[in-house]
Symmetry: C2
Subunit: 302 residues, 2 copies
């Protein structure tokens, strides 16, 4: 039994991860502001990681062997340029040091596609330059570079999961797939910006499975968590419209986004070194997602 500390445990990815960690027999300690359901074999710890000394006190009390650090500020529409990213950079470094000081041995942290130089198109962990243009990307990248360089001196085996685009059940409102599905199911016209952009989407349950696979491996350094498939945003929108039979509600904004057209992950590390295979392709993933939002809407209307 391995004692695992997971931060951001009630977030979009975290809530899909908890049952996996528990079912793999780990002793799970979950940190969050808000509680999700309690599963057998896990403990919730209510804590604010941005508070002075919080990471130290948690690490000393729990003495985790593994750390899965997902918590960050991710408010849709605000998080890319908020100075709160700076506070999360500090808190994340502080957590890593406290974890190491309390005897922690293996950590996986959440990085992002926003760390890469998107002009490259295909993002390879060891080849593609990092050139984040958002404060969020700069802070995630700075945290990952310090964590990666400090890990040997801290005695921690560390992997940084660079997570690309994702969707699925429990996605916060105001993001691409959640806002399209919610709009279509409610009968509201939905406008897709940047339909020409080609991105890399993975179902959140596959993201969670991949993170557990990374955690349980001895992979170190950056590793992309993505499908490796390049899909136009426009196609995601059309598929959702077809699934909800609301093509009539779909609009595309005319102006270009100004961002690089193609951003897709190389997934050689994930599929080759880890042997990971996603459970969902885009069609089955989006179908499951629409079904979930439909049930959620029905639950809400009862």
């Amino acid at each position: 039994v391995t004692r695992v500390l997971i931060t951001g445990a009630s977030g979009f990815i975290g809530r899909h991860l908890l049952p996996l960690l528990v079912s793999h027999g780990h002793e799970v300690h979950a940190i969050s502001h808000s509680r999700a359901p309690l599963l057998p074999g896990m403990t919730w710890h209510s804590a604010d990681l941005l508070a002075d000394g919080a990471a130290r006190s948690l690490s000393d009390r729990i003495r985790p062997e593994w750390l899965l650090h997902l918590a960050w500020y991710l408010e849709p529409g605000a998080h890319l340029e908020s100075p709160v990213n700076v506070a999360w950079t500090e808190a994340s470094l502080s957590l890593l040091r406290a974890f190491a000081a309390a005897g922690g041995r293996r950590a996986v942290t959440a990085g992002t596609a926003f760390e890469y130089d998107w002009s490259a198109g295909v993002c390879e962990e060891r080849e593609t330059a990092l050139r984040p243009v958002t404060l969020y990307g700069v802070c995630k990248s700075a945290f990952a570079s310090v964590a990666g360089a400090a890990a040997p001196a801290l005695g921690v085996s560390l992997a940084c999961a660079r997570i690309f685009w994702l969707y699925g059940p429990h996605e916060p409102s105001g993001r691409l797939v959640s806002s399209l599905v919610q709009g279509m199911l409610a009968g509201r016209p939905v406008t897709v910006r940047a339909g020409d952009e080609v991105r890399d989407f993975l179902h959140v349950e596959d993201v969670a499975q991949a993170l557990v696979a990374v955690m349980e491996s001895d992979v170190t350094g950056p590793i992309n968590i993505a499908s490796g498939d390049a899909v136009p945003v426009r196609e995601v929108a059309h598929r959702l419209a077809a699934m909800t039979q609301r093509e009539d509600l779909l609009r595309f904004a005319a102006e270009a986004s100004g961002e690089p057209k193609l951003v897709v992950a190389a997934v050689d590390r994930l599929t080759g070194e880890l042997g990971f295979r996603p459970r969902f392709d885009l069609e089955t993933g989006l179908t499951a997602t629409v079904d979930w939002w439909r049930s959620a809407a029905q639950r809400a209307s009862r």
Copy 2:
């Protein structure tokens, strides 16, 4: 009168900076563990910036308009790979946020030549890639990238001074020039490693003058603090030996250092945008330094 907060105020650069800031008429608040002499118009604050909440409490009390952040862990022989660099990264970000929250408007932080990709030879602020290979360089670079990206959102005008090699009075023992001069004056054989390396040296008083010039300007982003002159380490050693008339004590280690031969700064920003001219060239700077160590030795022996 501008209220300036300076950290690392009793350090190698800091102690040369204090009289300059005071003579320019600023209201100087100096933070340090250990006190240097009190000058008229300045206040010492004893504080440990690595302690929880220290930066916030200082900033709220002093409410500085300007911040000159020099403090870091710089123990010769240990600082390049120490995990204490991580703590200083957190503390520096925390200080910048606290300074901004307390109404601060202008900040200059201490970066380093160790941020650059040294294979470039000549390091230009906007052109040369950053590829630090030490934990110290990684942490300084991560701090600078987050600080630079967050500055607009924090309402702070921020310059990051990338300081190259320096020498002069009060240099801590165990560094290049200090150990050579101290050895020669004491009559001990001194061995120079990596004599073939060509580096960029500036007298610490010129470094201090340059930092004040940056502080008082509205330059933002990275700016090299250096001479722009490429000087072989071997030449520094020979000049010091000639000045102390102890060529007989000088040895050169045979093995190569494995580091890039040439690392020199482009100083177009410093000399062009700021019009800065150093007071010392290498010969007058080293002469003044040897004189200072000689007096220091005499003071110590009385």
